[in-house]
Symmetry: C2
Subunit: 198 residues, 2 copies
């Protein structure tokens, strides 16, 4: 990139270091940013800084938020006695988009992975157990359907069962609109095991 001047090269490098942004996209973004009106560029830089400065973990569910409590935990209309356990804030927002879940969440910020050396104490499990000291009706485990997600689900279920609180796991199966022909065997078997009577 020696044909670019220094400041352009720096910007392209910074952008290319973000996940999912390749060299070409970084270049296109850099030129776009340089061409944007000065006010919009300042706004962009300021928003980035401010997000980093103000965002912290919700003191209850540990999702990212700029308040003491996130908008969901502080919403009186939400059922505080149903806790859905997810791996990260994006999984939480995926369920929020359905618009149908009325409980609250608990964000683990990871999943147990013996392969990567991530154990139960490396994710936010202690905080979950602490939350169960208050009255809780049900814990819904919505970790991913991966090896790590399943391991984590198993671990949490064993941890909670002795307390007598109801523990459930979201269903695995064929995605809606999915064509059986293209679905892997493990999913097909799960869908069979999890069949419901009509």
């Amino acid at each position: 990139m020696e044909y670019y001047s220094n400041q352009i090269r720096l910007l392209v490098e910074q952008l290319a270091s973000l996940p999912g942004i390749g060299g070409k996209t970084a270049q296109r973004l850099a030129f776009h940013i340089i061409d944007m009106p000065k006010e919009r560029v300042e706004k962009l830089a300021e928003t980035i800084l401010k997000a980093k400065q103000t965002i912290r973990y919700c003191s209850q569910c540990l999702t990212l938020t700029d308040q003491e409590l996130c908008p969901i935990c502080s919403n009186p209309a939400r059922d505080q006695k149903t806790i859905m356990v997810v791996e990260n804030p994006r999984d939480m927002s995926a369920y929020e988009k359905t618009g149908k879940y009325e409980g609250v969440y608990h964000v683990l910020h990871g999943a147990i992975s013996p392969m990567l050396g991530i154990g139960p104490s490396d994710i936010r499990l202690k905080e979950l157990v602490h939350r169960l000291e208050k009255e809780v009706d049900e814990v819904i485990i919505a970790t991913n359907s991966s090896l790590e997600g399943e391991t984590t689900a198993m671990y949490i279920s064993k941890l909670i069962k002795p307390t007598g609180i109801k523990v459930s796991r979201i269903a695995s199966g064929v995605p809606v609109g999915g064509d059986l022909e293209y679905i892997d065997e493990v999913t097909l078997l799960r869908a069979l095991e999890g069949r419901v009577e009509l």
Copy 2:
């Protein structure tokens, strides 16, 4: 996105307004930025601001640069008498990547498009004509092979021919590695017309 707190929502919106960044990518980027070390976030914001503040047009070829003259125009090893005309700085960097072109450039910052109401005076043609007052051996027109690019090439060639300076156009044809079967007819005809004797 009302389930995100304000600062996260703002950051996602700002990122999603960039070209080629959809909602999901913006979310992933936002969470990544929030998770980055403070110093790296500050560096990113600073680089964005600094790029906007310091970058301007090269006084000779009009590419974007942070100096009076861009690295190519100020390189004494480059042939200042050969000017390649391109639509934008990215096209220039595409040719620089070949590592084989030794002349300089002229960046039009657009192409003539009657459809979009962009005329010859809306792109940096006046500056090109001005450069031809110095000694120039050849002008190579490397605008895109689109309707607008071809229109612009035609216009420039008519503009320069009376001066006696050699004007050329980069070749159109089948891309290297391209399978004839999947190439459109116009390109195939161009490749035939532009055939070279072996």
